[in-house]
Amino acid sequence: MATVIVVTSGKGGVGKTTTSASFATGLAQRGYRTVVIDFDVGLRNLDLIMGCERRVVYDFVNVINNEANLNQSLIRDKRVENLYILPASQTRDKEALTKEGVERVLGELKQGFDYIVCDSPAGIERGALMALYFADEALVVTNPEVSSVRDSDRILGILASRSRRAEQGENPVKEHLVLARYAPERADRGDMLSVDDVLEILGIPLLGVIPESSTVLQSSNAGVPVILEDSSEAGIAYNDLVDRFLGKTLPHRFTSVQKKGFLKRLFGGG
């Protein structure tokens, strides 16, 4: 039976799509049949981050409206086997996402996939609510910054009250924290909320810390999920995150300042 995972945050620009793309890619690389769905109707971007924007023919809303079937709409990733993308519609409005329609499409996808990753739009409107409604697990992406942490807490409240699992009185959605854009040297200086601070406030288990890294922008420029840059810090962090999700126990990296030598301290760099 497929597992539905929502990648959500409340606030925009914290790394949801980056995380969705890398997480889905990582699951597929490890042999699981994985589909990643863009729920941001009207503002699709997952296709760009995955580098398949020129291969979009039909989209999620077309499938919901029975204007196309899944085989016509799913885009098979050219780099990683077992990985498919279902893009959002760029022209419709969010009302096109009906609960019945989303449920039907997820039901069909569950027949053929192990993991269904739902990339949520920002906010708490219909797109975001639909992305999380059917979720079994949630990756809550947070930056170490006040507005992001507050919005994440709000999303946790919505997961606990307005998801299908909550409404049906089933086991709650399993929550995981992804702390992105983390800069340990700034946290050490007391300029940035630390990993422990955020954990203390949100109170959910930490799945991974993604360090602030220029590679993230470079890989989105190129349309390559950053997890494929597997020698970069962000790539390593996402690989660890996927392994942890699949049950491995791994220490968290990039959470403390790397010791710099005297010359590096003198001349900077790194």
Binding site: G157, G190, M192, I201
Partner: protein, 101 residues
């Protein structure tokens, strides 16, 4: 020159992260308003309400809303049941009566 100076003599830790944490703890606790400790009987209550109302009026799950709010020292349990409009309710009843006639 300033940059070089700072690299050797790291500045005293600023307090902004501590301030952020303190502000967040207060606002988050306030906004949670007891959500984390909200009673877990709410889904069951909703389900039973739905069953009772259905004995008399055909409604579906989305038409029952149960909401718990806290204000000051009070807890407010808000029940909102939307009944279908008169017409929709009448149709099955009429069919029944015509069938028995």
């Amino acid at each position: 020159m300033r940059g070089l100076f700072e690299k050797f003599f790291s500045q005293p830790p600023s307090k902004s992260a501590a301030l952020a944490k303190e502000r967040l703890q207060i606002i988050v606790a306030h906004e949670r308003g007891g959500r984390r400790s909200s009673p877990d009987y709410l889904p069951a209550l909703k389900k039973e309400l739905l069953e009772v109302v259905r004995k008399y009026v055909p409604i579906d799950q989305s038409q029952v809303k149960v909401h718990l709010d806290r204000e000051g020292g009070y807890e407010i349990l808000e029940l909102n049941i939307t009944l279908p409009d008169e017409e929709q309710r009448q149709i099955p009843a009429r069919q029944n009566s015509s069938a028995s006639a």
